[in-house]
């Protein structure tokens, strides 16, 4: 499903060059639930962003669903992200100006769908994460766990084949973390969604199919 070949990422500022990813190759199968671990600053988020086509690698090749991404235009890339990918960010990144329901509808806005359809789909997604009673709230009126669940609803509402989650349980207590984890596991099992998750938590990582460890931009396991 996702194929990374010799990915390198260099961050250049005026004074220093940081090699964030140093030659990583990775094959992720369809329907796989993969977790990525490693010390802070080792390049986990960078790698995930590259997989999610949010950032470009300095070197190397990415194929998603057998398609070479490198020559995609901005328009095509946007459409591709919209249809195939769903993101869950560590710090939620909900839009505070919009209500919960509108936040979840967001990915559908960039598709051809009617307002009614969008509402039905978004409500269903929120139901899946157990938040159907908070549709009219604004994100700032929710707890951290609730926000993360809204973010998950947003990631799954478009029914993407791949979900990329960057420390989805990082800001939550273990009970809430387990709940979120269960949602992801069910998604993987029932819908066959390919999931890549960055985590700091060994116990979470052990619930997934495969674990990849990074150190200083290189894969060590």
């Amino acid at each position: 499903m996702i194929r990374l070949q010799n990915i390198e990422k260099v961050y250049r500022t005026d004074t220093v060059e940081t090699l964030a990813i140093n030659g990583i190759s990775l094959d992720i199968a369809k329907g796989e639930f993969l977790s990525i671990m490693g010390p802070s600053g080792c390049g986990k988020s960078t790698l995930l962003n590259i997989m999610g086509l949010l950032d470009e690698p300095s070197k190397g090749n990415i194929k998603i669903d057998e398609q070479d991404i490198s020559r995609f235009s901005d328009q095509k890339l946007a459409k591709f992200r919209n249809q195939k990918l769903g993101f869950i960010f560590q710090s939620y990144h909900l839009i505070n100006d919009l209500r919960v329901l509108d936040n979840v509808e967001l990915p559908l806005l960039y598709r051809t769908s009617s307002a009614k359809e969008r509402k039905v789909l978004a409500t269903a997604a929120l139901e899946k994460v157990g938040l159907s009673n908070r549709l009219k709230h604004f994100p700032t009126q929710l707890s951290g766990g609730q926000r993360q669940r809204v973010a998950i609803a947003r990631a799954i509402v478009g029914n993407p084949q791949i979900i990329l989650a960057d420390e989805p349980t990082g800001n939550l207590d273990s009970a809430m973390g387990n709940e979120i984890m269960d949602i992801l596991i069910n998604l993987n099992k029932n819908e066959g969604t390919t999931i890549v998750m960055v985590t700091h938590d060994e116990s979470m990582a052990h619930k997934t199919h495969r674990l990849v460890r990074l150190f200083d931009g290189s894969q060590v396991q």
């Binding site: 962003n49 949010l54 950032d55 890339l77 990915p107």
Partner: protein, 410 residues
């Protein structure tokens, strides 16, 4: 899609009350001032009661002597003698409305002083200008020839002097201890038309200075051509006549111009005998308008940049979930258009209120401003243009933002 942009725009504007308020205030305030200013200009410039024949008319109101060697000059209004003796001989002048400057006189009503501004006019004054007579009629050549003490008064004067009396024809009005017989009452004229406004109009033959043999005096006139096409001919004939005027002592040049309405005003404000000041006045007004519009636009662009920058994380999220740069630019433009359009609507409402208040307060006596719908239309177009202009640049800049950077910027 557009409906969604609309919905998003309204939601955002509602949530960001402070920015929305500042922007709306800027737009509507600018628009209001623009509308009121143009209503005022419109009042002065477009044909208005009682002066409706402007396209066939030329206006003469200044006489200027110059001594080019010594650099002296002398400038004044025009004498009655000049109009009667020289201008009336011109073949292209079909009719001529002559009137004097306004002079003040005192009348007393119930021991209270009432200042009455009066003007002397000729008989054709009432034919060239289309005063509305509420009762009675104007004085004719016969009354003028007999130097009768008759007066045409304004509605306002009638009310102030005679009170609520129904008819005042044949009654006497006493100003500076002279009794004039009222023969007509006319509708009030806006003070912005200072050549035509007045409280009382009298036959010129009862003035003291109409016989003075001098080019300078206290009168002005409207020269009416047979048709619009004849106006240039009339101007030419007038200019040739001026060239042949006898030079007064100590001077070697005489300037006197028959100008179209607006040029006549600008010549008095910013011109002299040789230049009518039109370009000067128009450029100054344009410059001011431009500056006046430029500042809010820059301000709006600035606010927009801040407003959009603040939302970089939103942009990152939208991009991550499938918005292309183009879609984002559209979104922000729609947002801005909604904002400017709202500002425009508020501006129009404010303008109506302000104009209503100005009219009600009678700031300038008898001036009634009205909204100019052409200007309204262009102002709205301008609004939309500024909305686009002030939204496109920041939106374009932000849409180019790298997603990861945008997300981190929070």
């Amino acid at each position: 899609m557009l409906k969604n942009y609309f919905k998003i725009a309204l939601a955002v504007l509602k949530r960001r009350k402070f920015f929305t308020f500042i922007s709306l205030f800027g737009i509507s305030f600018t628009l209001t001032i623009l509308m009121v200013a143009t209503a005022f200009m419109d009042k002065i410039l477009s044909p208005d009661y009682p002066d409706y024949k402007r396209i066939r008319s030329l206006y003469v109101s200044t006489m200027e002597y110059k001594n080019t060697k010594e650099g002296w000059m002398n400038r004044s209004d025009v004498s009655f003698y000049f109009f009667e003796h020289y201008v009336s001989t011109l073949k292209t002048v079909q009719k001529m409305a002559i009137s004097s400057n306004a002079k003040a006189s005192n009348a007393y009503v119930n021991n209270k002083k009432l200042v009455i501004e009066y003007k002397y006019t000729n008989a054709d004054y009432w034919n060239v200008l289309e005063y509305q007579f509420l009762e009675g009629k104007a004085f004719q050549q016969r009354e003028i020839d007999n130097a009768e003490l008759v007066a045409v008064i304004s509605e306002e004067t009638k009310k102030a002097y005679f009170g609520d009396r129904k008819t005042v024809i044949g009654k006497y009005i006493s100003a500076d201890n002279i009794n004039y017989r009222v023969i007509g009452v006319v509708e009030n004229v806006s003070k912005t038309l200072y050549n035509f406004s007045g409280d009382m109009y009298l036959p010129y033959t009862i003035s003291k200075d109409y016989k003075d043999i001098d080019l300078m005096g206290g009168y002005n006139a409207i020269l009416l051509a047979k048709s619009e096409a004849n106006v240039p001919k009339m101007k030419k004939e007038f200019d040739q006549m001026v060239k042949k005027l006898p030079l007064p002592k100590d001077f070697d040049k005489i300037y006197c111009n028959a100008d179209p309405f607006f040029a006549n005003i600008t010549r008095r404000i910013a011109g002299d005998g040789t230049s009518n000041g039109l370009t000067k006045v128009v450029s100054i007004i344009s410059l001011f308008t431009l500056l006046f519009l430029l500042l809010p636009t820059i301000n709006l662009v600035n606010i927009n940049i801040t407003r959009i920058m603040e939302r970089s994380s939103e942009i990152g999220v939208r991009k991550a979930f499938g918005a292309s740069s183009k879609t984002l630019v559209y979104q922000f433009i729609v947002e801005n258009l909604v904002l400017t359009f709202l500002g425009g609507v508020i501006g129009i409402i404010l303008s109506v209120i302000v104009i209503h208040l100005i009219n009600g307060a009678n700031l300038i006596s008898n001036m009634h401003l009205s909204m100019n719908f052409t200007v309204l239309f262009y102002s709205l177009i301008a609004c939309i243009f500024f909305g686009l202009f002030s939204g496109v640049y920041p939106a374009w800049r932000m849409s180019k933002l790298n997603v990861v950077k945008a997300l981190k910027a929070q």
